[in-house]
């Protein structure tokens, strides 16, 4: 072994380090460039009109997006979290569990357009109803379900066995252990799962096209839940921001459709980024409170 041999090793080392560093920073640069472009374009065309909650504005679509994601989070949490708890805590190793897990994995890789058509068939055609937010939320929750199931399962599995033993040792039943020890301890990770699921919901378009509908007609002075123009009525057509962008870029007849689409994208971007930041902060606070620092 001579000096040049070591020099060559060191050179290769620094080349590889640079390569990895480039890979890591590339993602950051890409994100900044992307967000910057969308925000720049969007803000250029953003007018006061667009921010209003009227027929001309994007406020209604903004509200629909939030409301729809909220509903689908509830549906998927009701289905997904118990499923994850079952797989992690109750199920014994066996054929049935293998099938359940395979079903969850397959569900998570379904293309959203296929799920959208399924939602259309089941929630619209079979129920003989019009486009509505409930159908949209249920369809999106099918997409969120596998994510929440596996996040919940993983979160519980990574908890130390000592939590379970100590709880049983104090005379707790299985349900008391799950409810009072395991779920609270897994909460920050389940929360992260909910954020990821929400992110998916905010960005979803294909699954909503045939379910939530491409129009919205809300009157902010109408608070009769059964009325089709009541904002809180989930059984009304409810175009979201993503659907609005799609509609503007494909079939809008207005002259400034592209500008409107750019503004709409910017609003969607602000929504997603601020939601993610708030949720991260909340989960950080909870983590800190439980971690004793």
């Amino acid at each position: 072994m001579n000096d040049s041999h070591f020099a060559a090793k060191k050179r290769l080392d620094s080349i590889m380090t640079a390569l990895f560093r480039f890979g890591a920073y590339f993602a950051v640069v890409l994100l900044i460039a992307f967000v910057g472009y969308v925000m720049g374009e969007g803000c250029r065309y953003l007018t006061g009109d667009m921010l209003s909650f009227s027929e001309k504005g994007l406020g209604n679509q903004f509200f629909n997006t939030l409301y729809l994601v909220f509903l689908s989070l509830i549906f998927s949490a009701i289905g997904g979290i118990p499923a994850g708890v079952y797989l992690a805590e109750y199920a014994h190793k066996g054929h049935l569990v293998k099938w359940v897990r395979m079903a969850v994995e397959t569900l998570s890789s379904l293309p959203s357009i296929v799920v959208g058509l399924f939602g259309y068939l089941v929630f619209i055609v079979m129920t003989h109803s019009e486009w509505n937010m409930l159908a949209g939320a249920l369809t999106v929750s099918i997409l969120m379900l596998p994510l929440l199931t596996s996040v919940t399962e993983d979160a519980l599995r990574t908890l130390p066995e000592s939590y379970r033993l100590s709880s049983y040792g104090l005379g707790a039943s299985k349900w008391q252990t799950v409810l009072h020890v395991l779920l609270p301890a897994a909460f920050p990770r389940i929360m992260t799962g909910l954020i990821m699921a929400a992110g998916r919901g905010f960005g979803e378009a294909a699954a909503l096209m045939f379910t939530a509908g491409m129009s919205t007609d809300i009157h902010w002075d109408d608070w009769d839940l059964s009325s089709p123009s009541c904002p809180l009525n989930p059984l009304r057509p409810s175009e979201t921001l993503t659907l609005h962008i799609w509609a503007l870029r494909t079939e809008a007849l207005e002259a400034n459709a592209n500008e409107q689409a750019a503004a709409c994208s910017a609003i969607l971007m602000i929504l997603v980024v601020s939601f993610s930041l708030i949720a991260r902060y909340m989960s950080y606070r909870i983590d800190k409170k439980m971690g004793g620092n």
Binding site: P160, L165, G169, L170, G171, A172, V181, P184, K289, M290
Partner: protein, 280 residues
């Protein structure tokens, strides 16, 4: 054994109660038997882990279980509150009686674990506040009154000698405590569930000497009100704190006697070899 018969009568009168008998009530029958184990065998699948173990555990005594690693002493301990039920393929035959009752047939599993508390080798606080850790047992038993819980928490922390250092940080996470503090908190948590027996599975093996001494002092104090069974690797510890010592080897109970007798004049040559440090 006249005393034993009285114990049976006492226990039977109070049987079927969901609420555990308080430590004070249990103190009334000092000198009686808390556990009677007869011809107990334990199998993990095909592995015969405990062989024909028979032993009586007296109330308000500290019984130490010693022996080399893998001798079955922890397995034996975990059978007493049926924690081995959680182990797949674990099968127990023979007779284990807690206060005269068969723990597999006559005592409800959850009631047994309430009456027979356990402290583990590693401190195992829940990721909750100090208060909530201690209040966990009482809450499981349906106590939700804040004043009553505060009282139990204070009492238990005092008993476990941690009230003074923890009273100002009850709402902080238990995970922020040192290892020794965490272990004493776990003892307080066990006491809060109002057990009459405390099983300790090498409670000091993860602690420094000062924390170890605190736990040992605590055990000696708690013996007034509780029956304690402690597994230990440390023979000096067994000698310092226990009244009775049981020596396990390869799944067999080799010798069980007064600690003083065992450490000065063991009857079995294997016991002598072990306590004089010739193996283990």
């Amino acid at each position: 054994m006249a005393l034993t018969t009285t114990t049976y009568g006492y226990t039977k009168e109070h049987s079927g109660e969901a609420r555990p008998v308080s430590a004070d009530a249990a103190a009334a029958d000092s000198g009686s038997l808390t556990f009677e184990i007869k011809h107990m065998d334990l199998f993990y699948g095909d592995h015969h882990a405990l062989k024909d173990v028979s032993m009586d555990v007296r109330t308000h005594e500290i019984t130490a279980l010693i022996g080399p690693s893998g001798c079955g002493k922890s397995t034996f301990l975990k059978s007493l509150n049926r924690m081995n039920d959680l182990v797949e393929n674990c099968r127990i035959t023979g007779d284990i009686r807690f206060e005269g009752k068969d723990i597999f047939r006559e005592v409800d599993l959850l009631a047994l674990r309430t009456r027979v508390g356990m402290v583990f080798q590693q401190p195992t606080p829940f990721p909750k506040s100090i208060f909530e850790n201690v209040a966990y047992g009482p809450r499981l038993q349906g106590i939700s009154n804040k004043g009553q819980l505060s009282e139990i928490v204070e009492q238990s922390l005092r008993q476990a000698a941690c009230w003074d250092e923890m009273k100002d940080r009850l709402n902080q996470s238990a995970l922020g405590l040192s290892g020794g503090q965490q272990q004493r908190l776990c003892i307080a948590r066990t006491l809060a569930a109002r057990p009459s027996v405390i099983l300790m599975d090498e409670p000091t093996s993860a602690l420094d000497p000062i924390s170890t001494q605190k736990i040992e002092d605590l055990a000696l104090e708690l013996k007034e009100k509780y029956t304690i069974i402690i597994v230990t690797h440390n023979m000096q510890q067994a000698k310092r704190i226990s009244d009775k010592t049981a020596f396990f080897l390869l799944g067999e109970l080799i010798e069980f006697d007064d600690t003083v007798k065992m450490f000065t004049d063991p009857s079995n040559p294997k016991t002598e070899e072990y306590i004089t440090g010739r193996f283990g």
